[in-house]
């Protein structure tokens, strides 16, 4: 069943005279119990999309100017501010990249979790405290009772991120949105956190939207991958199919850019020439065309829509050429 459904969502910011549109016409859904990874390079609109789902863009001066976001079949856009506040944390929880920003530096970690619990449940203080300690234990914080009274600065980065996860999970959300929760951490700690999320997800039958720019991390945890480029979704599909047979030239380039553990080190890495375009000079036609080895005349004039190919989706006029070219790997 579809838990979350975005249809043609456009998000914009007004800066002085200028309108910035970091996310344009984005559609995707998240099923129950599914882990969806949102990938793409810096500035492609991943974070803004996720803030849109929580309607948090409104706090940053942004608006969802078109489209609809449905949670369990109900539109989130018609909800009042109070109803949204009620949902955040309870139904949909979010974790950010830098755990310090999510924690209050002058309140002990235990009290912060108790606060989150009290906000959304009827539990009394003692019950909330008991639940908080249990949660700290379940995210792998040893001696949870003693640590309950500690302040964020007394913890390491990895432990802080665990506390943030404990807080996010305090009310059994059905959907967890995690924006690069491990990017600031070492691989050893990242592995601990990914394993933790995996276990918790199974236990609680949660859905996860996981934002990352690391295809390696996506390969580890995703059921499905959504690739964003310059504010648009360019490919959406099953993780195995996408790695085996990327349809979009950008996905192909992203996969080729990763130094492969078993790859031939004497060959240069495939790379995508150029860089993501600035908002102010978005190319006409397909937004990827200045960097694309498959571009044809049509690409310079018409923007490709996101269309279904089997049970996947791709926004490219020439995806069949991409599929043909892939085995040789020498196109980019």
């Amino acid at each position: 069943m579809k838990l979350l459904e975005l249809t043609d969502v456009t998000i914009q910011f007004q800066r002085d005279e200028q309108t910035i549109i970091p996310v344009e016409g984005v559609s995707f859904d998240v099923k129950e119990g599914e882990t969806v990874c949102l990938v793409g390079e810096s500035g492609s609109g991943k974070s803004v999309t996720s803030l849109g789902v929580m309607r948090l863009v409104e706090f940053e001066g942004g608006t969802i100017s078109a489209g609809d976001i449905k949670y369990q079949g109900e539109s989130l856009l018609t909800k009042s501010k109070e109803e949204m506040r009620e949902m955040r944390g309870k139904d949909i929880a979010m974790i950010f990249q830098e755990p310090m920003t999510a924690l209050n530096p002058v309140v002990s970690i235990g009290d912060q979790i108790v606060e989150a619990i009290s906000l959304h449940t009827e539990l009394n203080k003692a019950e909330a405290k008991e639940r908080a300690i249990k949660l700290l234990g379940s995210v792998g914080i040893s001696e949870a009772k003693r640590r309950f009274g500690q302040y964020p600065h007394e913890l390491s980065g990895g432990m802080r991120q665990r506390v943030v996860i404990a807080m996010a999970l305090s009310c059994d959300p059905k959907l967890l949105i995690a924006d690069e929760p491990t990017t600031a951490l070492d691989v050893t700690i990242e592995a601990q956190i990914l394993a933790l999320l995996e276990n918790l997800k199974k236990e609680m039958n949660m859905s996860i939207v996981f934002i990352t720019h690391d295809m390696g991390v996506a390969a580890e945890i995703a059921d499905r991958i959504i690739v964003m480029y310059a504010g648009k979704i360019v490919e959406d599909g099953d993780v195995y199919e996408m790695f085996d047979d990327p349809l979009h030239p950008y996905t192909l380039g992203l996969l080729g850019s990763i130094p492969d553990v078993n790859g031939d080190r004497s060959k240069p890495l495939l790379s995508i020439p150029g860089a993501i375009p600035a908002q102010s000079d978005m190319p006409r036609g397909c937004r990827f065309n200045p960097r694309c080895a498959f571009a044809t005349q049509q690409c310079l004039e018409q923007e490709p829509p996101l269309l279904a190919v089997g049970n996947r989706k791709v926004a490219c006029w020439n995806y069949e050429d991409v599929q043909k070219a892939k085995p040789t790997g020498e196109v980019i």
Binding site: E41, A191, A219, I258, P259, D260, L269, S271
Partner: protein, 347 residues
């Protein structure tokens, strides 16, 4: 073949090795910690604690380890940005640690550095051509025309169009700024470049461009790199040999393929197993380490890794394992190296 008698230091003197460019002997760098109200004794962060290794001419030596393990500090000690508290650093035949300021300036010209954050190391008020010709102003007496020509050549070498010479840093993308830093670094024809997380902040597609550039330049100019990064795939791709650091010390040094195929130190094994592999069919069992890296101000006694090591024995708590060469070209600091050579051994 296994010769536990020989210490790493003795091996440094051994004759059959390729020519050495940089040689580090017993380098130590401690930082003073602020004194707490209740503590009587001055405490130190043991950022680099008795490290010895060497970098061969023309190779890329990769350095990996968790954050805070001392990689950057060691790199800075090597090129003299930090003065070592103890130990000796040799660059070619010069002992850097014994040179006076003027003599050091000369050697320093041969050693350059590229940092992670390209905007942090570029003056925002200078144009690209000024940024790139700055080293010439400091170290040479080139004429204006000579400088202009040299800047044009350098821009071309690092894959930037000549028209970019009039841009300011904020008008460039992250990858382009890193190219400017690289142009500056190679401007004076150095022999050695320290790249400290030089590609870590770049998006993968751009990262690949810069890595390819670094490799091409190495071939063309005969450069030697000390390449520090926490991204293991990147280090594997670019390095000839790799050193693994843990809590201020080198725990393993090996040729890249050897290390990644079968790490001998339990920490290397755990670190490598946690590396995300970009292949969903290879989701693998990981050696998820217990706990976090201990404080470098107060490292565990004996083997520093014993508090997290899955195969630690009693002796590890008290006896420090030395870094010894246990196979040709392979040094490991562990009482029980994983010699039966498969990653699964540690699980």
């Amino acid at each position: 073949m296994v010769n536990l008698e020989k210490t790493a230091l003795e091996l440094i003197e051994s004759p059959r090795k390729p020519p050495v460019l940089v040689r580090v002997k017993n380098a130590k760098k401690y930082f003073k910690l602020k004194k707490g109200i209740f503590s009587k004794n001055q405490q130190y962060v043991k950022a680099v604690d008795k490290v010895s290794f060497e970098i061969f001419k023309g190779e890329t030596f990769g350095l990996v380890g968790e954050s805070g393990s001392g990689k950057s500090t060691l790199g800075r000690v090597v090129i003299g940005l930090h003065e070592a508290d103890e130990g000796e650093i040799y660059f070619e035949e010069n002992e850097i640690t014994a040179l006076n300021k003027r003599e050091f300036q000369k050697v320093r010209k041969e050693m350059q550095i590229i940092f992670q954050d390209p905007s942090g190391s570029l003056n925002p008020r200078m144009k690209v051509q000024e940024l790139i010709s700055e080293p010439f102003d400091v170290y040479t007496k080139m004429t204006k025309k000579e400088k202009e020509e040299k800047v044009a050549t350098l821009l071309e070498k690092v894959g930037l169009g000549v028209e970019k010479k009039l841009s300011y840093p904020h008008e460039l993308s992250g990858g382009q700024r890193q190219r400017v830093c690289i142009a500056r670094a190679i401007a004076l024809n150095p022999k050695f470049i320290l790249a400290d997380e030089a590609v870590s902040a770049l998006d993968v597609s751009v990262q690949a461009q810069v890595i390819n550039l670094l490799k091409d330049l190495q071939k063309e100019l005969g450069l030697t790199y000390l390449f520090i990064a926490h991204g293991l795939n990147v280090v594997r791709y670019i390095s000839d040999r790799v050193g693994v650091m843990y809590l201020g010390q080198l725990v393993e040094v090996a040729e890249t393929e050897e290390l990644f195929d079968h790490p001998l130190h339990p920490y290397s094994a755990a670190l490598l197993s946690t590396n995300p592999v970009a292949d969903p069919r290879k989701r693998k069992e990981k050696v998820v380490l217990k706990g976090e890296i201990p404080s470098p101000a107060n490292p565990p006694a004996g083997c520093r890794f014993h508090t997290r090591c899955p195969i630690a024995q009693e002796i590890c708590k008290t006896k420090v394992p030395d870094l010894v060469e246990i196979q040709e070209g392979r040094q490991v600091a562990c009482h029980f190296p994983l010699l039966t050579n498969s990653k699964e051994e540690t699980e």
